[in-house]
Symmetry: C2
Subunit: 262 residues, 2 copies
């Protein structure tokens, strides 16, 4: 591709929820054809998205790690934090621009789906108007989680809502109370608060806790049976709309943690 | 697989939004290994999910079409309609059970993701407690649509909501008004109503209309420029959370219909 065009192409490549087999055929092809692979990682940590696609990288591909700045000393809502991130995305865009101007195709790999709560969109917003751009949709982390749990999440006229656990407790409670089907993301250090919001909105008994869905150390348990409030950042809590529909109770009490013989 | 176990395995296989290259490696493998492939279709119409995976079916695979009953004469909320669907899913489960009891692996292919607004979950709820079951997550139709549009949909602390256009106008308006990022699904004959709800909630100018995302006849336009209210059932309307974030205006006015040189 890069040989037929004066300038390269930017490709946002969704690589799915974690299981390397859950990348798409189109993502695998883009990785085979790209000149440069770029990926986000915390400074000093290995990149999770790179690990997912490791077996698909051809020898000799140029690697461009994009290391998030370490900002633990800055509060997230501060101007300093915002500035550090702005600087980071500006520098990352500059680095990618250099490759694109040299005629190279750059694949930015993204866990889940590139345009759904991902860092890629910060590059896309800066570069898509200036370069040929393609976005390859991916399986989201939340799809991986409810599939791993065997948990039908939404159906029919359900309203489906994704709530970041970072929201204030009062907003979480209010939005949970009026929701049909919910996925709470970014659970991390917010599990105690989330538990209170679920209890107050009447959803605690239906909530399922999922850690590392589709990955080797996958963990799926009813939240009510989880005895502590420790959770990694990427843990999710599922509240299915399914089991509220008429007749659901008689048919299958817990389609939740399914699979296996009775 | 079917030869090592007395009973077969049920696999819900997500086949993605329409582009045959957007199926996952794991879905492709499941299709290669399955003894039986089952798919939903309207009676008398070809199956869309089967068309997506046609190139992956091995010769000699047993095909089990599951034809939805024609119920146009029955109102959707009527007991008659509900009964017809219940009968249909019960019969489909019986047909699949016969194959599973004969030791065959049955792959039920599903557009998008099997457990997200899909028909597969009706089979899953009936069968997962009785047979070995696996669900393979897929790229959702909505991911395909915002990726085709190059439209970042949700980021940071956005609340993301999926609203079926079948909801009453007052509920659509209320939920749109308090939403950050929204995808409206099942647009079909509800576009005029949806347009009023978007206008009243202040979102009409940001809304993007997408038909057949990732497919050959793909269509992406600002809803405000669409001159009629005709829409297929699977059309979606996207309302991005992205462009409300601080600084978004200056950076990229319309990351929306991106791609191509300036």
């Amino acid at each position: 591709m890069s040989t037929t065009s004066a300038r390269g192409k930017l490709i946002g490549v969704g690589v799915g929820p974690g299981d390397p087999e859950l990348i798409t055929l189109r993502a695998a092809r883009a990785l085979r054809q790209a000149d440069v692979i770029a990926y986000f990682a915390k400074a000093g940590s290995p990149s999770h998205s790179r690990a997912i696609v490791a077996s698909h990288l051809r020898a000799g591909i140029i690697e461009l790690p994009l290391a998030y700045p370490v900002t633990t000393e800055l509060p997230k809502c501060s101007a300093g934090y915002r500035d550090a991130l702005e600087d980071f995305y500006a520098r990352a865009s500059t680095d990618i621009t250099a490759h694109l101007n040299a005629g190279r195709t750059v694949a930015v790999i993204c866990e889940g789906d590139p345009l759904f709560y991902g860092s890629y969109m910060h590059l896309h917003a800066r570069l898509a108007s200036r370069f040929d751009t393609e976005v390859i949709a991916g399986v989201t982390g939340m799809s991986g989680c409810w599939s791993a749990a065997g948990m039908p999440i939404a159906q029919g006229d359900d309203v489906f809502t994704v709530l970041p656990a970072t929201l204030p407790e009062s907003e979480l409670t209010r939005r949970l109370a009026e929701a049909n089907a919910v996925v709470v993301i970014k659970v991390g250090q917010h599990l105690a608060k989330l538990r209170r919001a679920l209890k107050q909105s009447g959803h605690l008994s239906r909530a399922l806790y999922v850690e590392r869905g589709t990955m080797a150390q996958e963990k799926v348990i009813p939240l009510a049976t989880k005895s502590d409030d420790h959770a990694p950042y990427f843990a999710v809590v599922l509240v299915p709309g399914w089991d509220r529909r008429p007749g659901a109770k008689e048919q299958a009490n817990t389609p939740a943690i399914a699979g296996g013989e009775p």
